[in-house]
Amino acid sequence: METRIFAACFAVASLVFLLVLVPDLQGSFSTNPMFQTAGLGPTAIPYFAGGAVLVLSVLMFFERKREEDPAPVLEPESETTPEAAYSFRDLAIFTAILTGFIVLMPVAGFLVASVLFLGAVFLLFRAPSPLVAVIVAVAAPLVIDLLLRRVFLIPLPELGWF
């Protein structure tokens, strides 16, 4: 079911891409003689890729789910670890906190935003030891900040006082 919803969403998105965005792009340069070239123009690859996504989404929608192979020899190249219990609520909470961190970091600086981010995660996901959680929430951003800013000379966002 998840796969079908996924495929349907991408089919609709690719239709919008092919029927609205690519023609818009075509219109933006087709009247300018400076942009006329022999062969393919700037919309060729987008049309090809959008068309491929549309066709493959439709095929994915109708693809029959493969029966479980009793003795699999080749596993799919997965970059993720095996499945466990899934909670949309936990995912939504974490994504919201991460989004907050991303918005806050350029304003409050890396250190402050990181401490708040880790604190919020440990609090909402109920860290087993409050003491360890506090130590990690403060020490980890400090160590990362020290490493990146002082050792690797990478300019992290800082808190603007004035």
């Binding site: 996924f6 340069f29 700037p42 190249e77 970059e79 670890t81 991460l98 880790l118 990362i144």
Partner: protein, 497 residues
């Protein structure tokens, strides 16, 4: 020779060696922690690497890669939880050995086989990459277009369990790569008036999101599960865990066969070390016969899988360096980092900048040696790292990702690209769409588009140029054959017996 000696001397600097040791240790630790893969280790290092001198950056990235694959086998053997997908095959027999009180033996065999596989593939890399590059120097845009078409096909068809999903991922990678200025005439495409998008989607946030954030989101959706530990190395019988001469003899052929399989797989873009390890496992199971112990704790299986997945790592550098086509997701990340450092992998690299090529050879060799030393000394220490709860680890990974994505251009848009890529890759994981084809396609689309459009400009818009050129024609025919063969094979598997 002078260039080689200069590169070698460069790698002998104390600070370079220190970078290498630190990267090997970090690579092993990250590889060993289930959920943190080699791809994540290398992806997280890229934002740091682009601020370093090229030599140091290469040392860091290549060492992380070399050590990370071995690190994955530690948790595979001890916890039956592969640290990286490439170690999943090792877990089958490795963990059985650990349960029989032979964890140290299994770990030592994994280390030995990993080093053997790496050295084997480095030898191939040194031998064949220059030859391939010399051949590829004759390529014009038509040949390049054919070769890249073949890359898209291979990457899409064989890197997942479903060809449709693999090709879908590759097509989406092509589509995302079209965002930004057109490579031929500079028309802005799908930028919506945002000047930050004129250079396209920034590469680092995309890869950090695809690999690291996706895994963090996955862990978050599972409430940051705790690991279980059922193996203690302290109680082992030391005499039983010593490797005997007959055991060394028994694992020698599986290591050679595994290395050959792994190297061959590494030459093909997009297949990766997970499949090579399972192919080596299938090979050792077949060659050992039905009465063998394979599946119940056989040292030959551990040796075959580990030599194979490490050989793939070295061999993936052959197409990456010689053709500029990444062999797998990790070399795709390294290739992108090299481009950001001003080094363009491809046949010309061997002519214009041989020092970089030698540096990569030397770094891969030295990091393998370092991996053996650190592995022998510190593998037992990795057991302690495995006890760090995910709840403390994963949010730190997330904030490092966000900071790394932000500092590339000091642009908050990049951190949103990272988050978007992470959510997309998380959804991909839920529905079984592989991520590697997307990244590889994203990287090879700009040269593909340039090659196709240049070819058509030469031929005044006629597509016949692609079938009148023998190399391009062979590439097209091979691509079509691969699609048909894989489709037939998957159809056969889908049909009820």
């Amino acid at each position: 020779m002078d260039i080689f000696l200069n590169s070698l001397a460069g790698q002998m600097q104390p600070l370079v060696l220190l970078t290498m040791v630190a990267s090997v240790i970090v690579g092993m630790i990250v590889g060993a922690i289930p959920g943190l893969t080699v791809s994540i280790a290398v992806a997280l290092a890229v934002p740091v690497a682009i601020f370093m001198p090229t030599d140091y950056a290469l040392v860091m990235l290549a060492s992380l890669y070399a050590a990370g694959v071995y690190g994955g086998s530690v948790s595979a053997i001890l916890l039956n939880a592969p640290g990286t997908p490439a170690s999943a095959a090792t877990a089958i027999d490795g963990h059985q050995l650990a349960r029989q009180g032979l964890a140290t033996k299994a770990l030592n065999i994994a280390l030995l086989a990993s080093a053997f596989g790496s050295m084997f593939s480095i030898l191939l890399l040194v031998t064949f990459a220059p030859l391939l590059a010399k051949f590829a120097l004759r390529f014009g845009p038509v040949e390049m277009a054919g070769l890249l078409l073949f890359t898209f096909t291979i990457v899409g068809t064989v890197s997942g369990s479903s060809m449709i999903k693999g090709l879908f991922s590759a097509a989406l990678g092509i589509l995302l790569a079209t965002i930004g200025s057109d490579p031929m005439i500079g028309v802005p495409r799908f930028t919506f008036g945002n000047t930050s998008l004129l250079d396209g989607l920034t590469y680092i946030p995309l890869l950090v999101g695809l690999f690291a954030i996706a895994e963090v989101l996955k862990m978050a959706s599972e409430g940051f599960p705790r690991q279980t530990h059922d193996v203690e190395l302290g109680d082992e019988n030391k005499a039983r865990n010593r490797l005997t001469r007959s055991e060394m003899k028994a694992i020698s052929m599986p290591m050679v066969r595994g290395s050959i399989i792994g190297s061959f797989v590494g030459l093909m873009p997009g297949i990766g070390s997970t499949i090579s390890a399972f192919l080596a496992y299938a090979d050792i199971k077949r060659s050992a016969g039905p009465s063998s112990n394979v599946g119940n704790g056989d040292i030959r299986a551990v040796a075959a899988c580990e030599s194979s997945n490490n050989a793939t790592g070295g061999a993936t550098f052959i197409p990456t360096l010689a053709l500029g086509i990444p062999g797998d997701a990790v070399t795709a990340i390294i290739l992108g980092a090299l481009v950001m450092l001003g080094v363009q992998p491809g046949p010309l690299l061997f002519v214009t900048n041989p020092g970089i090529v030698y540096t990569i050879y030397i770094v891969l060799f030295l990091s393998t040696v370092m991996m053996v030393i650190v592995g022998l000394v510190a593998t037992r220490g990795l057991v302690f790292v495995l006890r760090v709860p995910n709840l403390y680890l994963m949010p730190i990974v997330a904030l490092t990702c966000a900071a790394g994505s932000f500092v590339v251009r000091n642009n908050v848009l990049d951190t949103f690209v990272m988050l978007g890529a992470g959510i997309m890759a998380f959804v991909f994981g839920r529905v079984g769409v592989p991520v590697a084809p997307l990244l590889i396609s994203f990287i090879v689309t700009p040269p593909f588009e340039e090659a196709v459009r240049q070819s058509l400009a030469y031929s005044h818009g006629s597509f016949s140029i692609f079938v009148t050129n023998w190399f391009s024609l062979i590439a097209i025919l091979l691509s079509a054959s691969v699609v048909v063969l894989v489709a037939l094979a998957q159809r056969r598997r889908a049909l009820p017996a």
